[in-house]
Symmetry: C2
Subunit: 445 residues, 2 copies
């Protein structure tokens, strides 16, 4: 029988572990035959989903699951502002950036207006976050003449050939590039009170020195400011400043990977890097950008893009098409009109406080951390030693799924609950997450 | 002033070359400021397009242009079968492959049923053709333990970091990888009657030997069977067989890049490789797959995918989402219901014959070649010497745009008209293309 390690993914469905309904079993068999061995499902009992509505996902029997995990549909599933913008545009025109069209320009203006105090000057569009990070890396290489990349030790930045080489969270069987250096993610909970900002800066400086020692010129430091796959580590505002400036001083660029924290999830600004007072050379974005429509992209400074633009034309057939731009504009509209950044802050606070209160009754909760509607709950078998409890984490994730609340896990130890609901979550729905977590932890004791 | 070379793209708009209307000029200025230096527009007078309908693109003044170039909207712009499938699905559910859903399975079954006589067994989905070729290359590397890639000398396979390294048509300022070898594209018109199939096989064998001589294990031969960016070179059926088998004998995989010829364009089968009787290890697809919706992917044999699936999980957030699958299923429906492969053959024949007839009156037409609704017209300044006439080609492309027919150019010499209308083109519309070409060539004399 295959083990969890074979599936190298937190919360992956492992065939044979649980007894499934015959219908589900058959559907999974058909899927394995058709899609092959690289695809994964989530949960011990995988979900068949047929409908989405607000924060809810619905199965064929009409059972509703509260989606506290999907960070694409940040406005909730099937948000009418976005679906109607898509339907209107798809019936009018769906074509590419080799013709002039207004919507891409409006989108660029609005996104560039969201990053005051930076030198970011241009928008380039892709279809996926992986493509955005891949393009950012291409630009960084041309800008610096180098190839060296520095990432955190459980970072995930995407799945292209180049980007998978600097995405250690894909697992040990996906090789890192010889030009890639990992630095420890800033795990405050495990730092014994040390100043992690200073340590992180020193680690990045050491990685830069090590790249140079091997004849590799540093091209980029790329960081998700919430360190999502490292275990959701928001850290103190300003924390990233030293490391970013060290890379920029060394001639490399700083890429803020906003695919996860972007578009208001942190409840403070539209972008995660803004809480750290840093000046990125490139900002990449994706997932929630079109609330499900495949659109992603990057903002870059004129300086960093100049030589790339001279050497390379850039055309991505579907990227910047009129439908995707319409969806992205509708997302920005909804975020503003429904004050979703403020909602992320307010409901995120309810969620955080509720879980922090649970920690008083549940010994297994070692740490609760969060920013906006992004909360990590680290489960341990020994509070004093802070020993990761992966088995319990998996049990809790699956119990919550049985209770109708969807979330998942992350971090090197696979022991951090990853709670990342849509930004439209209500306080009442946050209370449901807290109650389900309370019950699950009690039952799992 | 910048030159055409600075823009390293056939038919790129070059600022300052022509006097534009103030409105267009201002829009281009705004676009350059917002999107930066890597984006390109087409035509001497770029087009502002606001609406699409069947084979037509429409500007803000209501002027209609016959689109004989866009190979994404193969069913015509805003085809109702597709737009209604998108609207229905986007209002119901737009989520990912970590849940079970029927539509991706149905899509896999239908695509796998379209490749009888091969060992292709699995479908994997991406959002763009670049991602599909990037994933194919990742799979080929894991399968072979090698990195070596062989492509034709003006090939285009995409724009990720890895794929741009084997896309020589991006221009001399985008470096090819040290692990990449180019073979001459099979230009029958310039071959002096030689058997190009044999020569192509020998060239691929020599490239394999050269890779090995440099200690580089061959991973893949990747070929667009219509050699689109090489100048549209359909060649004789069976032509590719020797080269493909040479690569497979050497332990490498054959990737049929069907992003351009796929989905019926050749008017013979659904896929271009099928005319050559070869057995690809991987088939990549994209552009027309969703008639504008960003969806692409690959079919692979179980054998080639086995080790990749063991080592790597594969998740592409937007790829295989329910909306993109609905669009792709609608595309397959429309191709069948409207018998578009047969239409591509019939109208392609009208188009080809009409242009071949023009060659009797226009000395500049050196060669006409085509398969289905994909026609290349090579323009020369000297029929005997077959000298490429790039300036005339550019003039004709722009004259046709002024007359309301959109096409572009390709090939190393930038002297091949690239005519690639939607598969729904009518014989009457084909006649319009021919008449406009006749007039443009007469005026350009």
């Amino acid at each position: 029988m295959k083990t969890t390690e074979d599936f190298n993914m937190v919360n992956a469905y492992i065939p044979g572990r649980a007894t499934l309904e015959p219908g589900t079993e058959a559907m999974i068999g058909r899927r394995n035959a058709l899609l092959g061995p690289a695809y994964r499902l989530m949960y011990e009992h995988p979900l068949h989903i047929v409908r989405g509505e607000g924060a809810w996902l619905i199965d064929p029997q009409g059972r509703r699951y509260l989606d506290a995990y999907n960070n694409v549909t940040s406005l909730g599933h099937c948000h009418p502002t976005v679906t109607e913008a898509i339907c209107r545009q798809v019936r009018t025109l769906a074509t590419n950036t080799r013709y002039l069209h207004d919507s891409i320009l409006e989108l660029a203006e609005r996104l560039l207006a969201s990053v005051p105090g930076t030198d970011l000057a241009h928008l380039m569009l892709t279809c996926t976050g992986s493509e955005a990070n891949d393009l950012a890396y291409r630009i960084a290489q041309v800008r610096t003449g180098g190839t060296g990349v520095i990432v955190t030790d459980t970072a995930y930045h995407g799945i292209t050939d180049a980007v998978s080489k600097f995405s250690p969270s894909l697992g040990a069987s996906v090789d890192l590039g010889a030009h890639v250096r990992m630095v420890p993610a800033p795990r405050q909970y495990h730092a014994g009170g040390a100043d992690l900002s200073e340590r992180f800066t020193r680690d990045v400086e050491a990685a830069i020195a090590d790249l140079k020692r091997h004849g590799i010129r540093p091209a980029a430091l790329i960081v998700d400011s919430v360190f999502t796959s490292d275990g959701i580590l928001p850290n103190a505002p300003g924390f990233l400043k030293g490391a970013v400036e060290a890379m920029q001083r060394a001639g490399g660029v700083f890429i803020a990977d906003e695919v996860q924290p972007g578009f208001g999830r942190t409840g403070e600004h539209l972008w995660g890097f803004q809480r750290h007072g840093v000046r990125p050379d490139i900002v990449t974005m994706g997932k929630p950008m079109g609330n499900g429509q495949p659109i992603a992209g990057l903002l870059a400074t004129a300086d960093v893009l100049a030589e790339f633009g001279r050497n390379s034309r850039y055309f991505n057939t579907f990227a910047g098409n009129t439908v995707s731009c319409a969806a992205a504009l509708a997302v920005l509209d909804a975020i503003e009109q429904e004050r979703l950044v403020a909602n992320a802050a307010a409901v995120g606070r309810v969620l955080y406080d509720g879980i922090a209160a649970l920690a008083r009754r549940h010994e297994a909760i070692g740490d609760v951390r969060g920013v906006g509607l992004f909360v990590g709950v680290e489960l341990v078998s020994d509070r004093h030693a802070r020993t990761p409890n992966r088995a319990l984490t998996s049990l809790v994730v699956n119990k919550m799924r049985e209770k109708g609340v969807l979330l998942s896990a992350c971090a090197t130890g696979h022991n951090v609950l990853k709670i990342r609901p849509p930004l439209v979550l209500s306080a009442q729905q946050a209370a449901m997450v807290i109650a389900a977590l309370d019950e699950s932890l009690s039952e799992a004791r």
